[in-house]
Symmetry: C2
Amino acid sequence: MVATDIATRVWNHTFKLDPIVRSLLDTDFYKLLMQQMVFGLYSDVDATFKLINRTKSVKLAVEIDEAELRAQLDYARTLKFTKREMIWLAGNTFYGNSQIFRPDYLEWLAGFQLPPYELRTVDGQFELTFEGRWKHTMMWEIPALAIVNELRSRAALRDFERFELDIAYARAKTKMWEKVERLKALSDLKISDFGTRRRHSFLWQRWCVEALKEGLGNRLIGSSNVLLAMETDLEAIGTNAHELPMVLAALAQSETELRAAPYKVLEDWQSYYGGNLLIVLPDTFGTGSFLKDAPHWLARWTGFRPDSAPPIAGGEEIIAWWARRGVDPKERLLVFSDGLDSDTIEEVYRHFHGRVRMSFGWGTNLTNDFRGVAPEPVDGLEAISLVCKVVSANGHPAVKLSDNAAKATGDPREVERYLKIFGEPEYGERKVAV
Amino acid sequence: MVATDIATRVWNHTFKLDPIVRSLLDTDFYKLLMQQMVFGLYSDVDATFKLINRTKSVKLAVEIDEAELRAQLDYARTLKFTKREMIWLAGNTFYGNSQIFRPDYLEWLAGFQLPPYELRTVDGQFELTFEGRWKHTMMWEIPALAIVNELRSRAALRDFERFELDIAYARAKTKMWEKVERLKALSDLKISDFGTRRRHSFLWQRWCVEALKEGLGNRLIGSSNVLLAMETDLEAIGTNAHELPMVLAALAQSETELRAAPYKVLEDWQSYYGGNLLIVLPDTFGTGSFLKDAPHWLARWTGFRPDSAPPIAGGEEIIAWWARRGVDPKERLLVFSDGLDSDTIEEVYRHFHGRVRMSFGWGTNLTNDFRGVAPEPVDGLEAISLVCKVVSANGHPAVKLSDNAAKATGDPREVERYLKIFGEPEYGERKVAV
C-alpha cells in the first residue's frame, strides 16, 4: 500500500517562496558579539555596507532574477528572533562563559529586524547597499551573502533534470567525504565551520557540518553559524571582524587617531569579552605595521587570526612576535581561516604542529565545493569571491588594506592615504579564488 | 511550519516485514517465456532446484538469520499476479510481437503461486531446495536469489550509522555514474539490465536502471526484470537459460538422446517463439561440442549468447561458425552476459564493433558493485557467486558443464559421464568472481 499524503503534497505545491534565510540566527556568531559592542559603544554611528563582487567576470544580475532577490531580502526583513532563540542566546554558554550577552542588549535584540536595503542593477551587477545605524546595517552582511550565493546555486541548478541533481549531490557528498577522511589523519585537529556566507545552500551547509561531526567527532569544535550551532548542539564560533577597525579608522579625526584605531578597537573588545574571545585579527591595514606598533598587553590575548597573509608565513610572523615578547606560542592560539581546503589545512597543521595551538575555520571549500560534480562544467556552481563590506562610517569612506593587495577595498585615494600611513602590504598581491 | 505527518510515521513504524519481493513480476523475463513452454510441453515433468553458493568462504547462514529468510520466502509465496500485471502481460508487445503469451498459459498463470520450499542450515550454509513440477519450481530461481542477496546486504548494513549509509550510497551512485559516463562513449552500444538475481536490493536495482536510462537513452534497450520493465516503460529482455537443456538432458533415455537434447530444446523453443527470441545459449555442455554437431537451421536464428566462455574468444568462435555456414555475422547478434563490467563491455564492444551486432546483458557489476563504498571494507557488501540451479528432473540428476570448469554443477559421476560424451571444456577453468 502506498500512503497518499495529499496534505503534504498540496502544502508543497502552494509554496510561494522557498526562503533561504529563515531565522535571524542564521548568521555568523561574530556578528552578534560585534553588534553587542556596537550597540553599547557606537550606538549612534552610521555605517553603510555594500555588496562587492570581486569575481568581476560573473555577472550576478544576469544569473539571478532581481525580483527573486528582492523577494528573499524582503522575506529576511520580516524575521525577528523567536522566543526560543532569545532564550537560547541568554541561557547558553559560549566559549565556557555564561551570560555573555547583557540584558539591555538582549532586550533590544528581541525587537530587532533587518533594516531597509537599496538595490539597483548596473552593468549586469547588483548594487546592493545597506544604509543606517551601524548596529542595524551590520546584520545584513551574512544573510545578504547567503541569499545571493544560494540564489546563484538555484539558478545554476534550475535546468538540471531530477537525475542530474541526484548524481551532482552524490558526487558532492563523495568529494566532501574524501576531504573528511583525509582530515581524520590529523589527530589534534581543531576545526570549525566558517562556511555560512559562501555556502551553496543552507541545507548543504547543514549536511557538511553533519559530515564533519560524523567524521571528526570532537575535533569539530563548532560552527560560526549560530542557528546550526543551536540545532546541532555545537559551539558557536567566532570573535570579531575587519569592520571594527575599518569603522573606527574611518571615524578617526587625525593621523594619530587613525594609527591608534586598530588597537583602540581591541581595548573596546576587551571591555566586553575575555578568554577565548580575545583573538586579534591583525591584517586590516597590514599585519606588519600592526605588529610593529602593537601594545604589549596584546601578547596576553589568547591568539591571533592571520587572515589574508599566506598562512604559514603569517603564522610564523606572529610566532616571532610572541617570541620577542617572551611568550610561549604553545600557550597561544592561531586561527586560520582564509581560503582553506583539506590540503592547505593539512599542510599548515603539519607545519605548526607541536609549536603552537591551532584551529581552522573552514569556509568556502567546505560548504561550496561543487567543482566537477555537474554533468558538464557549470559556471554558476563555482564559488565566487563575494563580500559585503562596510564602505563608510558617518559619511567618511572606510578602507581595508589587508595582507593581500587584491583584497583591498575602499576609495582609491583613501587607500593611497592609508598605504602611506600603514605601509605597503608585505606579501604582495595574490589571486583571490574565493 | 513543519507538517507533522503522523499517519505516515505510524504506518512506517508498524511494519512487521519489509518485503524484498513484492510482485511475481519481479523476476527475469526468460522465466515467463520458459515457463510457458514448460507448461505447454513438459507439464508433468518434475524438476528440483537448489540454491548453490559457489563462494564457499561466505557462510550465508551465519550472515543471515534463518527466520528472516523464512519470513521473506513465506511472503513471496503469498503473492499472485495482480489484475493489472496480467493485463500488461497479455496486452504488451514483447520484442515487437504482440500476444506472445497464449490464453491457456495466462489463464493458468493467473492462479499461480510459488510452491513450498525446504530450508535447512548445514555447516553455516543454507540448504534451500524447491521440489515439485518443473513449471512451479522453476519460478523460485530469481526471487530466491534476490531474497538471499538482499538479506545479506541488509545484514551487512545493519550496523551502519545513518550518516555512513548516506555516504555509502553517495559513493555507490558516484561510482555507478562513472561507469555510465564511460559507456556513453560507445555510440552504438545496446545494453540491458540483467542484474535482478544478484542485486544489492530492489530499490538499488531500480536506481541503477534509471541511471542507465538517463545516461544512455535508447542505448539502454531494456531490463530482464519484468516488473521494472513494466514500471519504467522499458522492453523486457531475455530468452532462455541453461535449465532447458539441463532438464532435457537429464530426461534422456540414451546417449543418442542425450547428445540430441541441446538441439531438441531449441526445436521446442522455435515452436513457441520467433525473431529476436531466437537466441542460442550454446555453452550448457560446452560451446565447442555444441557447434560441432549443431544443425544447419540454427544458423538462421537471430543470434547466440556466449555465456561462460571468455567473451572475445567465445564470440570469435561463433562468428567463425557462422562464416563456415555462409552467414554474414553483421546480420546476426551476439549477446554478452557473463561477469561484465564497464571495462569488459568497452573491450568487447571495441573488439567486435562493425563485425557483428552486439548487445550486453549487464548483471552483478551493474546492480551490486559496493566495493569500496563503506567506511571500512565490509565482506557482506561484496557480491558472491550464488546461483539457483536445477539439480534433477524426474529423479535423474541434472548436469551443467559450461565453458568454464569452475561453473560445472551436478553429481561428480554424472559430470564425468557428460564430459566423456561432450568433451572437456575448451577454455579451461577460470575464477568465477560473481
